[in-house]
């Protein structure tokens, strides 16, 4: 029996799409608050730019190549049949268009994640080219492979973009900073966040929006959406708690930035798993991600890559942790398919193996392609601002603006 489209499902996807749109400004504030006063506008602009250029790119070619009708049954990449939404109508009650808009939000925020790593020293012109090119050459294929393409078909699971988005952007961030080089003075000179309240505003918006990101991925207001919602709630809370407890025991102080970072780490980690786990699993995933990421953000000083705002430590590591934990916690109650139980639900190592494979492929592809794109930019227009601009601030040098004009001198 063909069921008529339920307006509740359309409503939920539309709301979720709006929530995910809101996450990019949220991310901008989260990152921007951590940055220094003189670079905050460059950070905001790198993020906002993604929601300007990607939506257009997405409806032109991104969608048709990765998720459009032509992509179905095609293991590697779609074709241009639905170029500029050709043939997409509203006779289905809006579900199609709502879903395309929803996925466009994901396409927009993914490159924005990378901005946190390249903070304080990247040319905006290079970023302006990097974003659409990266989206086409890295995001679109990985997204396709994971959702409906060969990796997904083999049996790996990714509910809302742990592999396709967080691992993908996180490892790209590493490749990007390796090409870009360290900020002058790093790591000797540290830069405390210029506005912690702005960081917390970003954190609040991110958590709020993430309910759309995860629970919306059920593409309907149904049981799986409710479960994903609950998991998003619990994992973020547990990870925030874990991070703060580690800090308290280790450094002697529970901090706001720890709360914010833990929440984000938990949200990242539950993303791939949100629709596949239940019960106490999200709490465990959150706790593990909170502890692991709290230590992982220190890798950059050990290994000497200047990932300014910890995109690798939080998004790459958190996404990977969550994606692999699916191999343990996946609850067969959520799908019919035979081999998709996690180890803790009577499954064998096969699911874990698929998760490793899918993430491995995403990591290799994303790292290599990102490295290549950045090198190409470096050899042509250059990727790095001049020393003077770096010293005096990118806001003025690149954008002819200053974040704050307070007090009596204006």
């Amino acid at each position: 029996m063909e069921e008529p489209v339920q307006s509740g499902n359309v409503a939920w996807v539309l709301v979720s799409a709006a929530l995910v749109l809101f996450m990019t400004p949220g991310l901008a504030f989260f990152y921007g608050g951590m940055d220094r006063t003189r670079n905050v506008l460059n950070m905001l602009m790198m993020n906002f730019y993604c929601v300007l250029v990607i939506p257009v790119l997405w409806v032109l070619v991104g969608y048709t190549l990765s998720y459009g009708p032509s992509a179905v049954g095609n293991d590697f990449i779609g074709n241009f049949d639905a170029f500029m939404l050709k043939g997409i109508g509203i006779a289905d009650g809006g579900m199609g268009l709502a879903t395309i808009a929803y996925l466009g939000m994901f396409a927009a925020i993914t490159p924005a994640l990378i901005s946190g790593a390249v903070a304080d020293r990247m040319k905006f012109s290079a970023w302006a080219i990097f974003v659409p090119v990266w989206s086409l050459l890295v995001y679109v294929p990985v997204f396709k492979w994971v959702f409906g393409g060969w990796l997904g078909q083999r049996g790996s699971l990714d509910f809302a973009g742990g592999t396709a988005i967080h691992v993908n952007a996180g490892i790209a961030a590493l490749a990007a900073v390796l090409v870009l080089g360290k900020r002058r003075g790093w790591p000797q000179e540290g830069h405390p966040p210029h506005s912690m309240p702005l960081v917390m505003i970003g954190t609040g918006i991110l958590w709020f929006g993430w309910f759309g990101f995860n629970a919306g991925s059920a593409l309907g207001a149904n049981g799986q959406a409710a479960q994903a919602f609950m998991n998003t709630f619990l994992a973020a809370a547990a990870a925030g708690l874990a991070w703060v407890v580690v800090e308290w025991l280790r450094d002697g102080h529970p901090t706001n930035l720890g709360v914010a970072s833990g929440i984000v780490a938990g949200l990242v980690a539950i993303t791939p798993a949100a629709g596949f786990v239940s019960g106490a699993a999200p709490i465990w995933i959150g706790l593990i991600a909170g502890v692991v990421c709290c230590y992982a953000v220190r890798l950059k000083t050990r290994f000497g890559y200047d990932d300014a705002l910890d995109v690798v430590g939080v998004h790459f590591v958190g996404g990977l942790v969550g994606s692999l934990l699916i191999g343990f916690f996946a609850n067969p109650g959520f799908f019919g398919a035979g081999h998709r139980e996690g180890l803790f639900y009577g499954g064998n190592l096969r699911l874990l193996g698929e998760q490793l494979l899918a993430n491995g492929v995403a990591i290799v592809w994303s790292f290599c392609m990102t490295f290549a794109i950045m090198m190409a930019l470096k050899k042509t227009i250059g990727v790095r601002v001049e020393a003077e601009a770096e010293a005096t601030g990118l806001d003025l040098a690149l954008h002819s603006e200053t974040a704050y004009h307070g007090g009596g001198l204006h």
Partner: protein, 112 residues
Amino acid sequence: MKLITAIIKPFKLDEVKSALREAGVEGMTVTEVRGFGRQGGHTETYRGTEYQIDFVPKVKVEIVTDESAVDRVVELLTDAARSGKIGDGKIWVTGVESIVRIRTGESGSSAI
């Protein structure tokens, strides 16, 4: 005339103001500054990394006053600003050659 400059702890400003006001000082100019001294700074921790903050918040109070009042004002300031802990700050006195009140153009003592 003299200019008395005091670097004090911010939370002492209210007491200093009251003490000076009671003693008849009718004007002063204050500035938020940051001090570096024996008190040392503090550390802050962000994502597990410690940042050494060497400059701690202080308030600078400047008072132009007649020569005759200098000693009393310095004494009052010292008393009001003292908490007895390191970092209480300094007071120094420099000479002022002339002073003008902008509104009236008056100069000398009556301009203070």
